[in-house]
Symmetry: C2
Subunit: 322 residues, 2 copies
């Protein structure tokens, strides 16, 4: 297939993530339609998008004034307004029947060539795909929060997805200033979550076998991996370190890594106390209202800085064609 | 035991890592003795230390001029100069018999209360410890490169290490501007390497089962984990996200993670071609002389920036007592 031609993109669902994805598309220069399936969402969404555009402005991410971007956004509660969108991204809650209903409504109005995507991180793409009349045009597009100021993007093919369309979206995503990763097959947790679950499994084993405390483990992962990950990926780093060291240690260490299928005791305890971390002040670490708020606040500010740092090195590495 | 009182620290072995550890101690305000067991090392080490001090100066890490720090450093080929050091860090090559010889020479001259440590990442602390007359004063202290501008530090007890001494070094290490992690028991790969091996195992499985390409996997780990790891550790991040999501997915995903004990085909291939990554231009990725040099160069510059970024947020988080 040829290059996709995209002028108008739509998002259905104006929650936190939906709004942040809309802002990402506005920044990238598209006309955007935001459909609010829940009555109050149109009003709250509009305010939230304005706030996020202000944040983008502070971060130096906008080429035009805020009014310009707002003029290119239509917020609506009418699915009919999706008619001319070349891509529709569904961002509603993770409930099977609601998503099914939303896909039906979308397919009633869009063109046959329109691509439909979901931001789900919980439900397999191949399952959701079955609700579509034209499942080959359906795929997962998984953002990190805030979508307008992170580069991470996982584009996932379900069983029936047309790979060429997913490749097209992957190319298009470079215009969104993303560094997209294409998943040829659907897998629970996609890539980064799955890799991190391998870390959690190994990490809990080291803690529970009393090699190290939780905060000790956290600290060394933070400062070791943090010192290079934003510059290069994990396999490129192996090339940087030199591979002979790894060759020997793979054979020694792989057989000794954790293979446990069980939920660690700490997570069982969290389940028993219904812990939701900083959101109800019951977590793996102690938190107070104040420390929770400050952590959220710091992340907003940290995110600005790491985004801009990554940008400078992203360009440099691209130039040297690594 | 009481607080350690340290004025003079020594490093044996003036290779790249040894020099960089010396600079870390100089910066922290100690008198430092560098013993060069190999004839040429004294001269090359001296030059390298000067270069690294200049780099520290550029990074704004020095409170005095370079001559001041050099005046507090004695480089020698005589083990007798270790006599008054309260801590001696061994940084010689990873060869059993050489290390044994070095420990014997050190123990001949130092005081009974002196602590002896190794920077090994390859040989178990408990094994090396057996070479010591006073094994209880021996431990691992594992730095990241460059030691003077990274915060990562793993302090590892062998079977016979006096825990109180390791705790003392851990406290002292805060003066070195480190974020030390104490390992109560020795384990191959220590903490971060072991966690990363869990990532490598899972990552190669995802690649070899054709979910994703190597560069695709690298990209999403880089940009997802990179966007938060320098601000918070992995378990603190779970508290930030909210734990209810994790509770469910642990039970689903753990049993499906890779348990493979085998070396992945890619690493077998690397062994067959004797690949050493950017060091002989045979790696997991293609490299040229030019791209290899540029990557090394970029890392020096990236390291300055991430160190200073981490510093700003480190203090902020310490203030809120998380």
């Amino acid at each position: 297939m040829g290059q996709l031609v995209m002028k108008q993109i739509a998002v259905v669902g104006l929650g936190l993530m939906g709004c942040s994805i809309i802002v990402s598309f506005l920044r990238a220069g598209y006309d955007v339609v935001g459909v609010a399936p829940i009555p109050d969402e149109a009003a709250t969404g509009k305010l939230r998008i304005r706030e996020q555009l202000h944040l983008c402005q502070e971060m130096g991410l906008l080429h035009q004034d805020i009014e310009y971007y707002e003029s290119r956004l239509l917020i609506s509660d009418d699915y009919a307004d999706l008619k001319y969108s070349q891509l529709v991204v569904e961002c509603v809650i993770e409930v099977f029947d609601i998503k099914k209903h939303v896909y039906n409504r979308i397919e009633e109005v869009v063109e046959k060539t329109a691509i439909i995507a979901t931001n789900t991180s919980a439900i397999p793409i191949s399952q959701l795909q079955k609700f579509l009349q034209h499942p080959e045009r359906f795929m997962g597009i998984h953002w990190a929060e805030p979508a307008f100021a992170t580069r991470f993007l996982e584009i996932t093919c379900g069983e029936s997805t047309d790979l060429a369309l997913a490749e097209g979206i992957s190319q298009e995503a470079e215009k969104w200033e993303k560094e997209p990763t294409l998943l040829y097959k659907d897998i629970r947790g996609f890539i980064t979550n799955r890799l991190m679950y391998a870390v959690y499994r190994q990490g809990f084993e080291l803690i529970n076998e009393e090699y190290v405390s939780m905060s000790g483990l956290d600290k060394c992962f933070q400062y070791d991996i943090g010192s290079w990950i934003t510059l290069m990926g994990i396999f490129r780093r192996m090339d940087y370190i030199g591979l002979d060291h790894y060759r020997k240690s793979y054979a020694h260490i792989f057989p000794k890594l954790s293979n446990s299928p069980s939920v660690p005791q700490q997570m069982k305890h969290i389940a028993a106390i219904q812990g939701r971390g900083i959101h109800n002040l019951k977590g793996l670490y102690p938190h107070t209202d104040e420390s929770a708020k400050k952590l959220e606040h710091r992340l907003v500010s940290f995110n600005k800085e790491i985004y801009s740092l990554a940008e400078r090195y992203r360009n440099k590495l691209k130039n040297i064609n690594l």
